[in-house]
């Protein structure tokens, strides 16, 4: 089953015919941390279900090339071929995402909502924060993971594909980071449009 062209205007068809069923088989070693369908339950470990295919593929590529450093991810990524990464990405993109069981602070959620527009998160991640192409789904992601990544982008320690996230996160105060993370974690995820 081909991953068809994403319908958002200006989006692109997947470069090669990725195979989500092959991806399901290849994702077996990933299930221990990320869950059998990409909906992880371990705090600090991100969910992959419903992530746009280009996004997951780019992250695997960055892990394989050492641009994104994580001691736990490195051994899983080092031997992946382009085909493996495409298949894995297609599999996870086809899984329905579920909101993580993070405990959010309602005051922070309220404070975080306007920040998502003010800092233009919605420009790339879409108004529902479901992501597209190489931009990840944020809605309902794990709170601890969101905090870690936002802090990393703000501090310039997180791996950035092209500099966009580092620039976006630079003006965030530590309070902004917390409020945004709680807000994003509080949202119900919907898969990206097909």
């Amino acid at each position: 089953m081909l991953l068809g062209a994403l319908l958002a205007t200006g989006s692109a068809a997947v470069a090669s015919a990725a195979d989500p069923e092959a991806g399901r088989r290849k994702a077996a070693p990933c299930a221990a941390c990320h869950g059998p369908d990409g909906n992880a339950t371990i705090p600090g470990t991100p969910s992959l279900a419903g992530q746009p295919a280009y996004f997951t593929h780019w992250q695997l590529l960055k892990y394989r090339d050492g641009r994104r450093q994580d001691a736990q991810m490195a051994p899983f990524a080092v031997n992946l071929t382009d085909e493996d990464m495409g298949d894995l990405a297609a599999f996870y993109a086809a899984q329905a995402p579920r909101q993580r069981a993070s405990v959010v602070d309602t005051a922070r959620v309220t404070a975080g909502e306007p920040l998502a527009k003010q800092h233009h998160c919605t420009s790339c991640h879409t108004p529902a924060l479901t992501g597209q192409n190489q931009v990840p789904l944020l809605a309902g992601q794990d709170l601890a993971y969101l905090q870690k990544l936002l802090r990393g982008f703000r501090d310039g320690t997180a791996s950035d594909l092209d500099g966009t996230m580092t620039m976006a996160a630079r003006p965030l105060t530590p309070e902004d980071v917390e409020n945004l993370a709680h807000y994003l974690a509080s949202l119900t995820p919907t898969p990206p449009p097909r």
């Binding site: 470069a15 015919a17 590529l61 050492g66 233009h120 620039m167």
Partner: protein
Amino acid sequence: MRRNVAIVLTALLLGASALWLMPASAQQAPPAWKQGQPADLANSPLAPVPQPPAPKAPGEIPVDKIKLPAGFKASLWASGVNNARAMTWGDKGTLFVSSRVVGNVYAIVDKGNMREVKTIAKGLNQPNGVAFRNGTLYIAEIHRITKMEGIEDKLDSPPAMTVVYDTLPKDAPHGWKYLAFGPDGKLYFNIGAPCNICIPPDTHANISRVNPDGTGFEYWAFGVRNSVGFDWHPVTKELYFATHARDWMGEDVPSDRFDHAPTKGLHFGFPYCHQGDILDPEFGKGHSCGEFAAPLIKTGPHVAGNGVMFYTGSMFPAEYKNRAFLAQRGSWNRTQKSGYKVMMVTLRSGDVPKYETFAEGFLDGGGQPWGRPVYTTQMKDGSILLADDYAGAIYRITYQK
């Protein structure tokens, strides 16, 4: 002493890049591609074309769709070259190929019936610039120029990269560079404006040059929003360059440019005047376009001209000698796509240049790109190679009567 000066300059550059002025309407900075978008275009669906993370398989590259003038043919020369961009030849026949977002540098060895693609560097910071001289490969990333010495004999165990020059801004927007040796033996490269539209710091929006030993840095051309392709005329040895003009000013304005910089110190207008004759709505106040150098050719709105290469071979018909090929990566800030072609420029003394299509056909039936032509280089036999950074492939274009 020089090191202290370099440190201070670096600090100034880093600080300066945070101080560039933006249009008054911005609060928090939008992503770079949206910066400068006026309120009446806030709901525009236009956004940069997403870069596929993997190259296309050879069977998925419709080379026969590339349309060329009579007698010319395109074939697939190399594939699996993820995000293939600029190309430069080694002394021993190795083709070095850069990339941008994927972060790799490749060495391609021609085995006759096939090409062997080796990745000699990865994880780099948008290493778009590659240039070769005296056995040494020079690589330009956003923040530094490095070199690999004696690389051609060590393709399978590449030598370490050592720094040539790194007193450079670190801005990601328009920070990736084209790199080429000029006739004077200096390395030329661009430092693009760190924005779509802004008053850039004095350190940005230029073409600069430095000696291959890292000494003698100087600015060469000013008011250049971002040029990632240039070459020198084979006879006059003068510099010609392609420039990407600003976005979010409309479907058909301003045009991108092909410019002539025969001397150091010319100002080509950015951000005050676009395409030689349109003042910027915000920053043009108090200026007149007559202050600046006008483009030699308005190459078209949003066409994204990258590679510039003067043809010097004998395979193509005689009229192709000293023509410049312009590879146009193609538009994103336009509803109907423009560019996605290789154009050719014929300079004529006492007359305007001829500007004609050479290669097209990179859009599919739905008007979406299957490939994006970005750079060309010439082979010894006079054929040319065309890199496609979207399909991750290199095509060879030959001519036969």
